[in-house]
Symmetry: C2
Subunit: 338 residues, 2 copies
Amino acid sequence: MSHATARACANLAFVKYWGKRDASLNLPMNNSISMTLDAAHTTTRVEFVPGLERDKVLLSERPARPAFARRVAAHLDRIRSIGGSSEAARVNTHNNFPAGTGFASSASGFAALTCAASSALGLQLSRRQLSVLARLGSGSACRSICAGFVEWQAGRDSDSSFATQLADPRHWNLVDVAVLVTDEEKAVRSSDGHQLASNSPFWQTRNQTISSRLAEIRQALLERDFHRFGREVESEALEMHAIMQTSGHENGGAWQSGIFYMVADTLQLINAVQRWRQAGMDVYFTLDAGPTVHLLCMEDQVGDVLQAVNSLEGSQGWRTIVCRPGPGARLLPGRDSD
Amino acid sequence: MSHATARACANLAFVKYWGKRDASLNLPMNNSISMTLDAAHTTTRVEFVPGLERDKVLLSERPARPAFARRVAAHLDRIRSIGGSSEAARVNTHNNFPAGTGFASSASGFAALTCAASSALGLQLSRRQLSVLARLGSGSACRSICAGFVEWQAGRDSDSSFATQLADPRHWNLVDVAVLVTDEEKAVRSSDGHQLASNSPFWQTRNQTISSRLAEIRQALLERDFHRFGREVESEALEMHAIMQTSGHENGGAWQSGIFYMVADTLQLINAVQRWRQAGMDVYFTLDAGPTVHLLCMEDQVGDVLQAVNSLEGSQGWRTIVCRPGPGARLLPGRDSD
């Protein structure tokens, strides 16, 4: 019996991954830049069991939904094919944050799964190999392999599309105050949204201008230029949502002119951030493909930002998670790793 | 003593006017298409008074704010210069709908003012001349001169930039159920927003694609093809808001990454429309530069649409105005026109 447990953090993209060059290989249209988030992580135990008929996947101790279980099994197949194994596995995974609300649980999940499963099979994979593999499970999972500040190279093919560290977690005391405004699951899954991006009339323009945005954000991050960084990151998030909101498509037999991942409270918070900044507070926001608002500030502003959030009408129903630059995916010691 | 009273309706754009080729002349980047709205109108009495020292402007019987009064006086100057007059005027204007909430009160207001003032000075102006003049007061006012379904020709210069009727009010029983979700005034005035449009990375793309959108919407309207019309109109509104939301600029010393005219309730309603359509209801939406959601449906659906709106959480604070294709700007008879 071989098993291993791994933990990987979610990550927050400053330059977004939206739209794929190759959907089956999760090859992105552009490089993306992210921060690995210390406070939001997935812990996954994988145990290959001789004689087990098929993979069993538990999420928070309960049988996972079939669609998710199939995705996990397909990912295990990739790793088994490398390891020359055909044993089924018991997978036990849990997130310390709610899924489906803009915190990319698939990123931390597939990063942890990749680490745990490859280790349980005795594979000695490099970070690069882990990142490529994790990407095949869920695109942005490749970034969660690395610690701190990370860039995912779009690459030319599967082997050249992986994440590397731009700067380690101690490089910059940037904080993400994530405000989870709702527990509702989003109406359009990211994987569908990716495919609809090219329906936007603005899609080509985005692809033409993204390289200069990447260069700006990379440089501002490396130079720790908070205001330049914040401006670019905020504009980038709104640009991605502009693409989403103009990705017209048929949905359930009816026309949908765009995808809205924002909900009412998202908009309320965005507007508040703009007011707070006018009042002199150093805070910017970004959004993923979900309603969660990620407030970006320096360490010494966290208290003020939390106070400002909690003073907003409707904030009683929100949850905040304060995230700092976190570690990459790693194996956990413990009673399981005998 | 010469006076006249005129009434003009607001109008709802299906292809939007956003961004100017010439800000002082209100020359737009592109043609726009609208419906004149019967239920939302401005009534304006203009009285030129010998010996009156300066123009006096009352809005709903109260002195108008100085900025608005100056705009009215500047418009009167244009009309006085044509009429060879130098008499100051008393202007008494009122809207039957709230101002500053996405219902374009400046459109109906400057259309009514143009009609009343030119008539009070004894000028016999053609619809085209009235439309050019109204445009100089407020761009979209040129459309409110005409009845029913209207197209504003961008034109080459001031004299060639005016609105004409595409179809009269009886052409199509299209209804605008306007849902006014808030009375708050918008944070960024339209005149400022127009100037910021070119800050959007998507601005050029919009200008390149707008002519095909115009052709689609014009044809769908003339053929009374409701679903094709609705899809295009909804996409057009979201495209304009995508431009707004990516028009980054400095505001009050702080960076603002985009302009949000939507408020939380706007977003709630937009999402509801998409659900209603999936449930089989024939309804689309459009938005102007404000939080008001304009629900578009055919006459026989108005009851269902109103019922659906009123069943939404939070709808107690909203007001609905049901608008049908309306008349152009016209003089009102009455005790004043002696």
